[in-house]
């Protein structure tokens, strides 16, 4: 089927999804021990989207992420070690500890940022698509954002301009059923947010966000279209946030039956089932174990790395001479 991932790609997606899940679980455990700093936004249950949606991109393609970006970072090719080191504020972090987990970037991989202003990733990705178009590059840009972000004004402005100028961009909406703690029906009067794409004359598709192959196919088709210069498209991936909003979430509002129902369709299981016939359960379990080991090693290493030393940032200086 056109736009389907190859088996190798599927295996890599499977592997990365396990890296992400393990990252999230370790962070959860360390938070309980009081060893993390600041709010951390886990994406357990949503791994298929971030990893599969970015799987067909090159390093020259741009991705903009949100406050909940771990799957996007790993999907876009960042190693887990500098991501962990960044989350723990070490000099060895992707941004030398200056950014923190919500704002990780690795420009060499085209990952130009987590963004913790909700909605801000949408014009951000659109601006990168604009610069691709102005310079005539054939790279595309991808924006991954949440159902909460879809209600922001910049979402509308950016999608309108993207469609108006046929910018090479794909909008991937991670519909995880919640804003911060509010259910989706407290945020907008419609269920399927992608119907708004019609208001920009933009194609859209709804997919099962817990199925990495489905995500890959839908997003891949839009990426191809955008790369051919036919303009933007939107994919709405339905999923569920299995953990709290962040490590500071006091919980209590997610329904047990919902959690159970979605856990039964855990994307890790879906990915496993999609591959087991082809490559065998043992092989998959080995891949999983290797992913877990990689993350363990990253934490061990990062947690013994040094903290940065403070230096004034002169580029921000208020006076043109040194004071």
């Amino acid at each position: 089927m056109k736009n389907s991932p190859s088996i190798d790609e599927q295996i890599e997606i499977f592997r990365k999804m396990h890296v992400v899940r393990q990252l999230e679980e370790k962070l959860g455990a360390l938070h309980k021990e009081g060893k993390t700093r600041g709010p951390i936004h886990r994406c357990d249950g949503q791994e298929a989207i971030g990893v599969a949606a970015t799987a067909m991109l090159d390093d020259t393609d741009y991705v903009m992420s949100t406050h909940r970006g771990h799957a996007h970072y790993i999907g876009k090719g960042l190693d887990v070690y500098p991501v962990v080191a960044e989350i723990f504020g070490r000099t060895t972090g992707s941004c030398a500890g200056r950014a923190g987990h919500m704002l990780v970037a690795d420009a060499s991989k085209g990952m130009i940022g987590g963004n913790a202003i909700v909605g801000a990733s949408i014009p951000a990705a659109t601006g990168a698509a604009l610069s691709n178009q102005v310079l005539g590059r054939d790279a595309v840009s991808m924006c991954i954002f949440g159902d909460g972000a879809a209600q922001t004004g910049i979402c509308h402005e950016a999608m309108n301009m993207a469609a108006l100028w046929k910018l090479p961009i794909v909008f991937v909406l991670e519909h995880n059923q919640f804003g911060l703690t509010v259910d989706t029906d407290m945020q907008s009067p419609i269920d399927d947010l992608s119907i708004r794409a019609a208001g920009y004359g933009m194609p859209s598709e709804i997919v099962d966000g817990n199925d990495p192959v489905a995500v890959y196919r839908a997003v891949g088709a839009m990426v191809e279209r955008a790369r051919r210069g036919e303009g933007p498209g939107m994919v709405e991936a339905k999923t569920y946030r299995l953990e709290g909003f962040s490590t500071s979430d006091m919980g209590g509002y997610q329904k047990d039956e919902d959690i159970a129902a979605w856990k039964a369709r855990d994307p890790l299981k879906v990915a496993f089932d999609q591959l087991k016939a082809e490559i065998g359960e043992d092989k998959l379990k080995t891949i999983e174990a290797e992913a877990v080991a990689e993350v363990e090693a990253a934490f061990d290493k990062a947690l013994s790395d040094p903290f940065p030393e403070f230096e004034l940032f002169n580029a921000s200086a208020a006076y043109s001479e040194v004071v």
């Binding site: 704002l103 209600q151 907008s188 030393e309 200086a317």
Partner: protein, 325 residues
């Protein structure tokens, strides 16, 4: 008197004012069932219903613009903006809408709304969730700006803000919500807008501070006392309108001033206090006013970096000593 946390004091103020005046209503992100991410609105949706305590979508720009017209059409909205870092999204509604109508419509409308938000660093929330943009709002004519540093002031100022007929931007601090303090009881115990409070008397140097920096200043005053220096700590509380008399009075006594604010230095709120002192107290000054502020750079995430940029007692002591040198 009752011992309360700052967040509880705010909650009590909201509950009392909502009970007293049916035109008061609240809206903001996650303020209902969840009670707000800092728990200031806990229990209020249960008590007053969705009509008066509304969870909103993530739409700060329109929410603020809606508060403006809701205020001019008979209600007293209290809007929660989750982080002060999001204040830029509210500024068109404040600068181009809220601040102009009472004057340009020649008194046809009043503008009684409160925009509550919280700012400040120290929690590892990084560059987009740690700012204090005080001077941006204090620059806007006709907008009042208050920043309580204690539970008692939190309650008393919020009640006054809700009853005020002008827009009030109410700046809370994320590291103060858990602070406990004595809060006077009684539905009508207000703290007036526009009045500073002398938190500690002294004779050698006046430290003018805002929000959490009041507590750093008090620590600094202790440290200065150990060196035989008597520092007066003035909690400005009302960033605008500013209590000029309190400033004049303190400087007339000490002849030295240090200003402490957690915002950036350049064009920051401390610059205005320094310039105000220049305007009105120049002849009383023995030394230039010192500013203790955030350096002009983004707020870094990693703990040692964040701690290095935040103003603190140590920096206040150093500035005071230099002023007195």
């Amino acid at each position: 008197m009752a011992l309360m946390r700052y967040a509880e004091a705010l909650n009590a103020a909201l509950r009392e004012e909502m009970t007293r005046d049916p035109s008061v209503f609240l809206f903001g992100e996650d303020i209902g069932r969840y009670g707000g991410v800092f728990k200031v609105t806990r229990g209020l949706q249960e008590e007053f219903g969705f009509n008066r305590v509304r969870d909103t979508p993530i739409s700060e720009q329109a929410m603020t613009a809606m508060a403006v017209t809701a205020a001019m059409t008979g209600t007293r909205p209290v809007l929660e903006i989750m982080y002060a870092d999001f204040m830029p999204l509210t500024l068109d509604a404040l600068v181009n809408q809220a601040s102009i109508y009472e004057y340009i419509w020649n008194g046809q409308v009043k503008m009684p709304f409160v925009l509550r938000t919280q700012g400040g660093g120290g929690a590892g929330a990084a560059a987009q969730h740690s700012k204090s943009l005080d001077s941006m709002v204090a620059h806007i004519p006709g907008i009042k700006v208050v920043a309580p540093s204690t539970p008692a002031d939190a309650k008393g100022l919020l009640k006054s803000a809700i009853r005020d007929d002008q827009p009030v931007v109410f700046l809370e601090h994320k590291l103060l919500y858990n602070m406990r303090g004595e809060v006077p009881e009684g539905d009508d115990v207000l703290v007036p807008l526009g009045a500073a409070s002398v938190t500690r008397e002294g004779t050698d140097v006046s430290i003018f501070a805002t929000s959490r920096m009041v507590h750093e200043s008090l620590k600094a005053a202790d440290a200065l006392a150990e060196r035989g220096i008597s520092a007066e700590v003035v909690d400005l509380r009302s960033l605008k309108p500013l209590d000029l008399n309190a400033i004049k009075k303190s400087i007339a006594k000490t002849n030295n001033a240090v200003v402490v604010n957690e915002g950036w230095n350049f064009c920051g709120y401390a610059a205005e206090i320094s310039a105000t002192i220049m305007d009105f107290c120049f002849d009383d000054l023995d030394a230039p006013v010192a500013r203790v502020t955030m350096p002009d750079m983004p707020i870094p995430y990693s703990e040692p970096l964040e701690m290095a940029v935040l103003p603190n007692a140590e920096k206040i002591v150093a500035a005071s000593l230099q002023t007195l040198a």
